[in-house]
Each structure stands twice: as structure tokens, then as C-alpha cells.
């Protein structure tokens, strides 16, 4: 029995730490630990609920818009305040753009290099690579000339003795299996994705007013004045800019992202058997189609024990089934006490002890649904879509499994999605649907404005006494919910139950492991000094814990510690 600790504790940053017990080259037990206390919610107490979203969007510098939207939804829910249709559509377009951006960045820039060996790409023949690409996609960026340029650029990095962005990778690791040609193609798309990231960010900038922190949101609607003939407002010119950008990003998503995930998935088919973990899934509906939040373009629901026939749908922004069944446990987290409480009743009193395998070991609380750990994220969302017969989900899931299956020369069923690679596939499937729905909501917005409706805002009124509200959003990393208690127009309590808390949370009072912990069990580890396989499974969740602070360490030379005992 040996133990690996992957602990990027360098300085004052908060981080994810993973501990794993290895026996016979396989993980037997794992611990997921958040290494920094935040408790940012406490800053909100006593403030004006109309301004809460400004603060919550600073919870995380990457997931800015998602915390803004969950916050205004929570306050609107507390007041039972409806929002005008234009505001829903504008919000939906911002959310869709943010999600496409986030998923592309996650796949290409944060996780693809777990599977793609950059150094191997140097050996590739660009002509062969281009020929291979032609069998998979009509994307014009896959020309021999382009791929030769990418290879030469890579070679330049190596000849200069520095790999730049590709410095820290497990190159040459025995778990890397792709041919040099596939590696070169993936590196080329990695670079192209950077330009796509810039494009899609412009959609958020146009509609949100600013990025990365949007300014056009308000409790009760949005702050984008609509006047098709006025340069200073949201006008036809800007709407067509948005449309062009959505068209371009959709082409990349369909012709490149789809193909890459299918091909890499097919070539690592054994990873469809690792990383399953917790198969209880939670997702919430999103992209509302009406003012009250009772009709949605994306369904959400609860699935227990991987049994799709068990699905229970979450239908509206007022859903009691959701509201009543979320709790958080601090039995194994560094807070004062050992309670399990509903978010409205929680407090956040830090009490650090030490890392105890059988005691407290994380700053992350353990959220539970009806007492069960739940996996959240695109996989949960896609599975509930399939279970509920959501046509776009069924269409894209089927197409993905067929395409990957034909490359791997096998038949793939939705059962393979309960895995490390299944999470990547589901994220891509969701991105395809979002791209289509972004088009739809652009049309809904333009048609609604054409009808003469320019309404964007209903003013919130805060009665005396106490109101409670919750707002959820199916964010890129999964179900996000904000819970607010308002007393006499001021915030009395605020809690955010975030996707990475659901997934990265520790055990609870019943010793039930969280999704990261459960998913690592059974993973192979070829080289304990270079635990690439563990990184693959953790990355497949798109972890997001260390976003709160930032201080740059220009002079530091420390690197993340991987300790194998």
C-alpha cells in the first residue's frame, strides 16, 4: 500500500488537494480536500439584496456571470418577481455564450493535454495528419500548410530549449496513446481554440456591457436599454454582431470540438470504464422561456444509482422538490460543529484542525440531496435529458456515441457515459445543444423586439419582514444554487452551494464519499511519481476551487508537489 498526495500548495493560494491510497497499481481509497477557507458569503450580510450579484460575481474570476445570474434569480424568487421576456432572452444569450466559452477552454486548454502528447506531435507528418483530418471533418483549418506551420512552431519552441505553454506536461508517459498525427491535429486545435475564446468573449462583452465582470444585470431584469435605432443602446447592429459571432463559434463547435472528442474518446476507449464514482446525478432546468420561470429549453432532474428510469424532473424556479431537499454537512469539514443543515439555516464559522483521514480534512462542505451525495455537471444534465426524452440531447448523444463507436469499431451505449471520458463527451454534447439554443434565443429576442416589446426591467419592492429565496442555474460545471434570507430589505443570510462543492466535497456524517473521491477508486496508476491517470479523472469534472485570490508569484520557482510515499 502506498499513498500519493497531489498537493499544489505553493503559497497563500487555496487549492484542491487529492490523496490516494494505491495498492497493486490501482487506487483503493481517495480524499478530496479544499485547502483554503473563503467564507465570502459573510461579506453579503447586511447589504442591499439588489447589489448582491455585484459581489457574488467576484466569488470566482472565471465563473463571474454564473454567480451573478444565480444571485438575481435568488432575490427575484424571494420577492416572487417576474422578469420581462427580453431580459430572460438576453440573460440566456449571455449564459449560453459563457458556457460555450467555458467548455471549449476546459476541453482544449485545461484537460486535452492529459490525453495529447505535445512532444510526440513533433514526429507527425503534416500531410498524413491533414489526410486523416479530412476523413473526420471539413474544417478548413486542417490543411497541410496550416499543420506544417503548427509543427514548425512547436519545433521552434523545442529548439529554443523551452516549450512555453507546454512546459509542464506528462510527455512520454506510458498512458499517452495517440499517434503523432492525432497529437499534431489536437495541438493545432488547441491553438485555434484560443482565437475562438476571444470571439465568444465578445458576445458576453456586447450583451453584458463589460467582461469579465458584466454590468448589465439587475434584480428584476437587465440594464440593456433596447432601441434599435440608437447607437448607445442594444440595437440591430449589435444584435447582428452577436449573431455573426454565434455562427462562427458554432462552426468550430460542430466541425472541430465534436470530432476531437469523438476521436480522442474512441482512441482511449478503456477510459470509458474508469472514473464512474457517484452515479446519483443532479441537474436543474435552465434557459427559461417565460417570465415566471416555468418553461425551459434545458430540462433538469434527479437520477439515483445510475438508473435513468428513476428520473424525477425539476420543473420550475419554485420547485419544492429542489428547495426542500438540499442540505450541507460539515461532519468532515473544518467548520465549528458537525451539523447537517439546510442552506437557509447554515452558518460559516471556520475551525481549522488538521488533515485527519478519518476526521475533518477539507474546507469544502459536503452538499447532499435527500442525504445522498450527487454528481453534478454536464454529465448529470445530459443523462437527465436522455431520461426525460429531451430531443436535442437524445439527438446529440446518439450522434456522439455512433461517431465514437464507428472510429473505435465498436458499439457504444449511454452506459459508457458513466466514466471519466463520459464526462468529456457529455460536456461536448451539451455544448452542441447550447450552440443551437443560442441561435434560437437570438431569434426569440429579435422577434420579441420586432413585436414592439422593449421592456427589460420590473422594479423590485422589498416588503417589511422576512423573505427567503433560492435561485439556481445549470452552470458549466453543474448545478449552482444561491440561497438568500432577506430581512427588512437587507440580507440576513446568504449561501452559495456551488457545483465544485457538490463534486469535490468530502465525506459526510455517514462516511459517504463525494464524487471526486468515489471516481478515483479503481483508477490505474502506472507511475506513482507522475500520476497522470488521477489528474485525468479529476480534470474530467472541470474542477474549480482556487478562484478566490490571485497574488502572482513572479519570483517563485516552486512547482506543485506530487508526493509518493
Amino acid at each position: 500500500m502506498s499513498r500519493i498526495t497531489i498537493d499544489p500548495v505553493t503559497r497563500i493560494e487555496g487549492h484542491l488537494r487529492i490523496d490516494a491510497e494505491i495498492d497493486g497499481g490501482v487506487v483503493r481509497k481517495a480524499w478530496s480536500s479544499g485547502q483554503m477557507f473563503r467564507g465570502i458569503e459573510r461579506i453579503l450580510q447586511g447589504r442591499d439584496p439588489r447589489e448582491a450579484w455585484l459581489f457574488t460575481q467576484r466569488f470566482c474570476g472565471v465563473c463571474t456571470t454564473v454567480h451573478a445570474i444565480a444571485s438575481v434569480r435568488a432575490v427575484e424568487n424571494a420577492l416572487q418577481l417576474q422578469v420581462p421576456l427580453n431580459a430572460q432572452y438576453i440573460r440566456n444569450l449571455i449564459l449560453a455564450a459563457h458556457a460555450m466559452h467555458d467548455h471549449i477552454v476546459h476541453f482544449y486548454h485545461l484537460s486535452a493535454l492529459d490525453w495529447v502528447d505535445v512532444v510526440s506531435a513533433l514526429q507527425a507528418d503534416p500531410a498524413k495528419t491533414s489526410a486523416l483530418a479530412e476523413t473526420l471533418s471539413t474544417w478548413p483549418g486542417n490543411s497541410k500548410m496550416k499543420l506544417t506551420a503548427v509543427r514548425d512552431k512547436l519545433k521552434g519552441f523545442v529548439d529554443n530549449g523551452q516549450l512555453g505553454i507546454f512546459q509542464n506536461g506528462y510527455w512520454g508517459h506510458p498512458a499517452m496513446k495517440l499517434s503523432p498525427e492525432v497529437n499534431l491535429l489536437a495541438v493545432s486545435h488547441y491553438l485555434e481554440a484560443l482565437e475562438q475564446q476571444r470571439r465568444i468573449n465578445q458576445v458576453v462583452a456586447i450583451l453584458g456591457g463589460k467582461t469579465p465582470n458584466i454590468q448589465n444585470l439587475a434584480v428584476g431584469g437587465v440594464a440593456n436599454a433596447i432601441n434599435l435605432d440608437n447607437q448607445a443602446t442594444l440595437n440591430m447592429d449589435k444584435l447582428y454582431q452577436v449573431k455573426d459571432l454565434i455562427d462562427e463559434i458554432q462552426a468550430f463547435i460542430q466541425q472541430v470540438y465534436f470530432v476531437d472528442v469523438c476521436a480522442i474518446g474512441a482512441m482511449y476507449a478503456d477510459w470509458l470504464t474508469y472514473g464512474k464514482g457517484v452515479t446519483n446525478y443532479l441537474s436543474v432546468p435552465d434557459l427559461p422561456l417565460d417570465s415566471a420561470g416555468t418553461q425551459f429549453d434545458f430540462p433538469g432532474g434527479v437520477i439515483m444509482n445510475g438508473d435513468l428510469s428513476s428520473v424525477q424532473e425539476i420543473r420550475t424556479f419554485n420547485e419544492p422538490f429542489f428547495k426542500e431537499n438540499v442540505t450541507e454537512s460539515i461532519a468532515r469539514a473544518w467548520y465549528d460543529g458537525d451539523w447537517t443543515k439546510h442552506p437557509y439555516e447554515e452558518d460559516t464559522e471556520p475551525r481549522y484542525t488538521s488533515f485527519e483521514d478519518n476526521g475533518k480534512y477539507s474546507w469544502v462542505k459536503a452538499p447532499r440531496f435527500k442525504g445522498h451525495p450527487m454528481q453534478v455537471g454536464p454529465l448529470a444534465q445530459v443523462l437527465s435529458g436522455i431520461a426525460l426524452g429531451h430531443k436535442p440531447t437524445v439527438k446529440w448523444a446518439t450522434k456522439t456515441l455512433e461517431t465514437a463507436g464507428s472510429i473505435a469499431k465498436t458499439t457504444l451505449t449511454p452506459a459508457v457515459l458513466h466514466s471519466t471520458l463520459g464526462r468529456h463527451a457529455a460536456r461536448m454534447i451539451r455544448t452542441q445543444i447550447i450552440a443551437e439554443l443560442a441561435q434560437k434565443h437570438w431569434n426569440l429576442l429579435v422577434n420579441n423586439i420586432a413585436k414592439g416589446d422593449t421592456s427589460i426591467y420590473n422594479e423590485p419592492v422589498f416588503p417589511k419582514g422576512e423573505q427567503r429565496g433560492f435561485g439556481f442555474h445549470e452552470a458549466p460545471r453543474g448545478t449552482l444554487s444561491h440561497w438568500v434570507v432577506i430581512r427588512d430589505g437587507k440580507i440576513a443570510n446568504y449561501q452559495a452551494v456551488v457545483p465544485s462543492t457538490w463534486n469535490a466535497g468530502p465525506r459526510d456524517e455517514k462516511d459517504q464519499p463525494g464524487p471526486y473521491e468515489a471516481s478515483l477508486v479503481g483508477n490505474p496508476v502506472a507511475d506513482a511519481e507522475r500520476p497522470l491517470e488521477l489528474i485525468r479523472t479529476v480534470h474530467s469534472f472541470d474542477p474549480c476551487l482556487a478562484c478566490a485570490i490571485h497574488t502572482v508569484d513572479v519570483e517563485g520557482t516552486e512547482i506543485a508537489k506530487v508526493k509518493a510515499l
Partner: protein
């Protein structure tokens, strides 16, 4: 395009220095044409879009360095990239180095990169900066102005300064760092 990017989290006391400096800068100076002042928060790798079309960038951020809190450290591109970025396990590790290397791989990115860093005293949940880091704000603003001037884009003092939009500091101090009391 030249961008001044204030980095940091305004909910984490001294870490909010970058956005604070940008807000004070825009309240006191006219932004020259071809220059953008951006309160960029903590974008991690999402910094990349702000670098792709820029010929020069000036970062303002807190830095980890030997020295006293409140001291200013200025770094140029080569110094920032002298040591390789740390291994990344999540998407949110400070990604300044990574973002610079990423744009370098695509189109070269900005030729001129300056990081105006301030050594923080405390970084913990709260909206108030430590007094010593607060005192460094005017010096950091001057450092940005000097850098812009060197880049041929001297910002002009506003005839009448406007109130900086420091919305996070306005509301009640329900929770501030113990050292602030």
C-alpha cells in the same frame, strides 16, 4: 491596443489592489485613445482574450516577493517569464504566465509587458485593504501613468476628478479582517 489590466479579487482584502488602482486611475485621468482600463478580476486563463490583440499591456496586481508590505515591484516581460509557470491542477491558478505564453504561441501577443506589483500585507476574506497597501495606491497609479507615458500614450489628468467607482467599499463593513480593527 494598450490595456491596463487590474488583477485581483475585491472580496479578498489586499488582493483587490489591482481593480482598486484601475478605478482610481480612470477617475483621475482621461483614458487616451487606443488604451483601455480594465478591472479584470481574477480571470485565470481567461486573461488570454485581453492579450491577443494588444501591443502592450500593463498589469497591476499584488505580488509575492521579499520585502515590506506596500512596496512596489515592477517587472518586465522577461522577468515575469524567467521561471516557468507552476503545474496547474485547476483552471484558476494565477495564470498570468500561462496566458502570456499562450498568446506567444498563437501570434506573439504584446511586445511590451509591465507588471506593477504591490506586496500585500494580508489576503483574507474582506473588502477593506490594509492601510499600508491602501497607501501604495497613489504610487501604483503614478507607476501606471509613467509606463503609459513611456509607451507614447500619456494620460491627461481630468480637469475635475470624478468619484472612483469603488462599489465594494461603499456598503457596510459587516465583516473585515481582524487586523483592520
Amino acid at each position: 491596443m494598450i490595456r491596463v489590466l487590474g488583477l485581483g479579487n475585491v472580496l479578498m482584502s489586499d488582493d483587490g489592489l489591482g481593480p482598486y488602482v484601475v478605478r482610481v486611475l480612470e477617475a483621475n485621468y482621461e483614458c487616451p485613445s487606443g488604451v483601455e482600463f480594465v478591472d479584470a478580476g481574477t480571470p485565470g486563463l481567461d486573461l488570454t482574450p485581453y492579450l491577443l490583440d494588444a501591443r502592450a499591456v500593463i498589469f497591476v496586481d499584488t505580488v509575492s516577493s521579499k520585502g515590506q508590505p506596500g512596496e512596489i515591484r515592477v517587472y518586465e516581460r522577461d522577468e515575469i517569464l524567467k521561471y516557468p509557470p507552476q503545474t496547474r491542477t485547476g483552471p484558476h491558478d494565477p495564470a498570468l504566465k500561462e496566458a502570456l505564453l499562450r498568446v506567444a504561441a498563437v501570434n506573439g501577443g504584446p511586445d511590451q509587458v509591465t507588471l506593477i506589483g504591490v506586496i500585500p500585507q494580508w489576503v483574507a476574506t474582506g473588502v477593506a485593504m490594509s492601510p499600508i497597501v491602501q497607501d501604495a495606491v497613489p504610487r501604483a497609479v503614478v507607476a501606471v501613468v509613467e509606463t503609459l507615458t513611456r509607451l507614447g500614450k500619456p494620460p491627461v489628468l481630468r480637469e475635475r476628478a470624478i468619484q472612483p467607482d469603488l462599489w465594494w467599499c461603499d456598503a457596510p463593513e459587516k465583516f473585515s479582517h481582524p487586523a483592520a480593527k
